[in-house]
């Protein structure tokens, strides 16, 4: 019997990070399957350990990024997604997936909007891991770098809310050099259960050490931080304890 944690990736028209994300999940030990949204039925979701909304675009990001995908999910899968969450499932949204989760109201209230300069940001971002014991982040050090690539990634919320998310531990990742002028520099959020997790940076794009822009990067001899991101949640779902040989990483 297959014992690997099972992740399904929902693919909308325009999703373009699904293959990379599936490969990252498989590399970390998951059994991963990409499912076109139209083919997803209740049983598909309820049989998974984790549902992933990968990055890219969805339905052209018309109206606003993630809106049409949110509406499609709510009208087609909301009941089965609710059961999935009640049964302890994990929900991960990366970039456009984060935008969809925000629109669905599954993460603390706020929105992801266009950058003040109106430009698409495609660069590396230095991030602070604010929840080092979180199932998605426990194998990562306090400071990491990951690529970002988005036009609508600026987190905004009603006055004071963003700061409260940081204080309450709901902001899991923050930008060190606020690349998109997000409130409280928020780059990633979790819900109160910790099982819904959204982030703008792309961990799947830093799976291998060789993907780092600096050929002399010394954070890890083989892997990028993205690997440890997926490995963290894999080991959580597989019921494995922290790898004894895993060192605390620094990029000094």
């Amino acid at each position: 019997m297959e014992k690997r944690p099972y992740a399904i990736l929902l693919k909308f028209p325009g999703t373009n990070c699904d293959v990379e994300t599936a490969r990252a999940l498989e590399t970390a030990g998951f059994r991963a399957e990409i499912m076109p949204f139209r083919q997803v039925v209740s049983e598909t979701i309820e049989g998974a350990n984790m549902v992933v909304l990968p990055g890219g675009f969805s339905y052209g990001d018309y109206i606003m990024a993630g809106r049409l995908a949110q509406l499609k999910i709510e009208h087609g899968l909301s009941a089965s997604l609710e059961r999935f969450m009640e049964n302890g499932g994990y929900l991960l949204g990366i970039c456009n997936g984060f935008q969809i989760l925000m629109r669905m109201g599954l993460l603390p209230a706020g929105s992801l909007i266009a950058h003040p300069d109106g430009r698409f940001a495609c660069r590396w971002a230095r991030l602070r891991n604010r929840c080092p014991s979180h199932p998605f982040l426990r194998f990562l050090p306090d400071e990491i770098e990951l690529p970002v690539a988005h036009a609508e990634g600026r987190f905004v919320a009603a006055e004071g809310l963003a700061e409260s998310y940081v204080e309450r531990g709901l902001a899991t990742l923050t930008y060190q050099d606020n690349v998109n002028h997000s409130f409280a520099s928020i780059a990633g959020l979790q819900d109160e259960t910790g099982r819904v997790f959204g982030m703008m940076p792309h961990p799947e794009r830093f799976l291998y050490r060789s993907q780092h822009y600096d050929p002399d990067w010394v954070g890890d001899p083989d892997w990028g931080w993205g690997y440890y991101f997926f490995k963290s949640i894999h080991d959580e779902l597989a019921g494995l304890s922290r790898e004894p040989g895993l060192k605390t990483h620094t990029n000094e």
Binding site: Y59, G60, Y62, I63, M64, R67, L68, L71, H75, R103, A109, G110, S111, I113, A114, P116, D117, G118, R154, V156, A157, A158
Partner: protein, 152 residues
């Protein structure tokens, strides 16, 4: 019946209008962008407004301006940019398909047009003609420039 709504993001600051041009201009003028939807519909006005609020507006970051009047004042001019009616406007089609799928009983959508509106403010050397030259692709766009009450 016809209903026009305009949506703007209140977190977005006014941006430097020279960024919209291909060639350098002074930095005295700014612009704000909105989305403008024109519905030809039958049925309940409040039901249509509910649809607009729930589907087209982000409740956290956006404000809805209900009616044909411009949602900003004191602008020098504004540019409305639309795809030509003969072209496939995917935003319009996605909205129409969504409305069709929902099968609303209290209103029906007969026609929809979507425009992106750019309001220009302040003093500078950016003329409507220059904006149109650089922003409009005459092969695919229709556009409209309207002067406001602001002074250049």
């Amino acid at each position: 019946m016809r209903k026009i709504v305009e949506i703007h993001n209140h977190f977005q600051p006014a941006k430097d209008a020279s960024n919209l041009l291909y060639t350098p201009a002074d930095h005295g003028m700014t612009y704000r962008e909105t989305r403008r939807y024109s519905f030809q519909y039958s049925g309940s006005d409040s039901a249509l407004l509910d649809f607009v609020q729930s589907v087209l507006v982000d409740p956290v970051s956006e404000d809805l301006h209900d009616g044909p009047s411009p949602c900003f004042k004191d602008y020098i001019f504004h540019l409305d940019l639309m795809l030509k009616p003969s072209l496939l406007d995917l935003e319009k089609e996605y909205i129409r398909n969504y409305v069709r799928d929902q099968a609303y009983t209290d209103w029906t959508l007969d026609e929809l047009s979507v425009a992106h509106r750019y309001y220009f403010f302040g003093k500078g050397d950016i003329t409507p003609q220059r904006i149109a030259r650089d922003m409009v692709n005459p092969v695919i766009h229709t556009w409209n420039i309207v002067y406001g009450t602001g002074t250049a």
